[in-house]
């Protein structure tokens, strides 16, 4: 009989490392705090900053109309306040024209893009209803505009210390871009929680929305400067308008303020 004594392997058998369980973000409503109703505008602001999933969850519940109204009303009020800050550059009638254009422009841009977002959501397999998507877009606008209020002291300081419309326009655009980034992040999170299979549709919509907003700034021009008429007389695409502004700005001589 050949007894085989199996020789031990030179190395002890390797134990595969235990992979940590994949971290999946919890869906809205899984956390009991998400189920707390949002009963006032202040609660809505607190919730969108600290518990965005609470807003997402509440928008899915029956009777979310009041919350949607809060989101829209806060977005309009904040846009109006920021518009006043924009108007302080030119003062006079721009103090009411700029707020109306900023608030109106944002709201109209969102409403123009709302149907396409719904279509993209459906195509991506999202289960969100149109009303819920409307609420989420209002939430995005609210978050964007309350962040703009945060930028308001900085914007006001700069508007008092420059005569360059180009500079102020660029600065407002940068602030809007930063604020929109957070607003769109909220919308993206809500989109991914609505069982959407792909983000391609949402990303396409983001590009469309941004283009619509920048074109809106041209369609409603001037917002920072002044004009004898409320709406511009000629129609322009935003790229040609910006190029024109930059050319005009470069031709001007700059005062020596270096001392």
């Amino acid at each position: 009989m050949n007894e085989t004594n199996p020789t031990p392997p030179p190395f002890p058998p390797q134990i595969p490392p235990i992979a940590p369980p994949p971290v999946t973000p919890r869906a809205p409503g899984e956390n009991p705090e998400d189920r707390l109703p949002i009963t006032s505008p202040i609660t809505a602001i607190e919730a969108i900053l600290r518990q965005p999933r609470r807003v997402m969850y509440q928008l899915r519940q029956p009777g979310a109309g009041a919350l949607m109204f809060y989101l829209m009303a806060i977005a309009i009020v904040c846009a109006l306040i920021y518009g006043v800050i924009v108007g302080t550059f030119s003062l006079k009638e721009q103090l009411w024209i700029a707020p109306v254009k900023v608030a109106g422009g944002m709201l109209v841009s969102a409403l123009i893009c709302l149907p396409s977002l719904y279509i993209f959501a459906c195509l991506s397999g999202s289960q969100a209803r149109l009303a819920e998507i409307f609420g989420l877009v209002m939430g995005m606008l609210m978050l964007t505009t309350i962040l703009l209020i945060g930028f308001a002291p900085v914007a006001w300081l700069f508007s008092q210390s420059t005569n360059s419309i180009n500079w102020m326009g660029t600065l407002h655009l940068i602030f809007w871009l930063i604020a929109s980034l957070f607003g769109l992040r909220f919308l993206n999170a809500a989109f991914s929680y609505s069982h959407a299979k792909s983000n391609a549709g949402f990303n396409t919509w983001v590009v469309i929305f941004m283009l619509v907003v920048v074109q809106m700034t041209t369609a409603l021009r001037p917002i920072v400067g002044t004009s004898p008429t409320f709406f511009p007389k000629d129609k322009k695409f935003f790229l040609s308008y910006w190029a024109e502004c930059l050319r005009e700005g470069a031709e001007k001589t700059w005062p020596d303020t270096t001392r």
């Binding site: 600290r50 962040l147 945060g150 900085v154 300081l157 210390s161 500079w167 303020t257």
Partner: protein, 240 residues
Amino acid sequence: MPGQSAKLERRELAVLLHGQVDSLQSWSAQWNARRVISHLAVIVAGAGLYGAAVGWWRDPLQALYTAIKFPLIILLTASGNALLNGMLAPLLGLNIPFRQSFLAILMSFTIAAAILGSFAPIVAFLVWNSPPMSANAWDSAGPYAFILLTFVLVIAFAGIAANFRLLQLLQRLGGRTDIAARVLFVWLAGNLFFGTQLSWILRPFIGSPGLPVQFLRADAFKGNFYETIFHTAVQLFTFH
């Protein structure tokens, strides 16, 4: 008791400078008017003394103006960006109330001001040893450059030390280094952007020898820092 109060303030300042995170965390969690006033007092005194030392080289009156302007920049930056910083923290993953973010930033500014104040005697000594500012700018170019470099180095050191303490506090509050670093970076960017323009408006701090001593230049609100830098760069590269 004033003696006891002063002793308490000194101990609190030591806690701030040591960066005792437990204490800083509990201080930032609740609004204590006496503590906030003591922090404001440190900012006014520390940054004011440093400002006085900086402005002294030009003129005693400029020293007074700069002593007012340095604390003003710190306080206006902290309050002007308070709302934005308070909103950005939870959006970046650090779920702290507005009050806590404001107090955390105020504490970091207090540390910076205390460091600046501690360097004020050294800077004053340096200025005392420097040749007086000449009406001919070329004669003062060497000392001017050296003094300016020293000022900037001290401010940089104070800023780095204060923000290191702030980072430690944010790590404790958020529990994660990446979140703390992200929040600190965004706060720093915002404060730098706003603070730079405030400094530009509130110039001069030393002042050119050929120009009068003033609290604000007549063209303080004409043009801004970034616009001027951009314009200078354009001129430089287009050889105008």
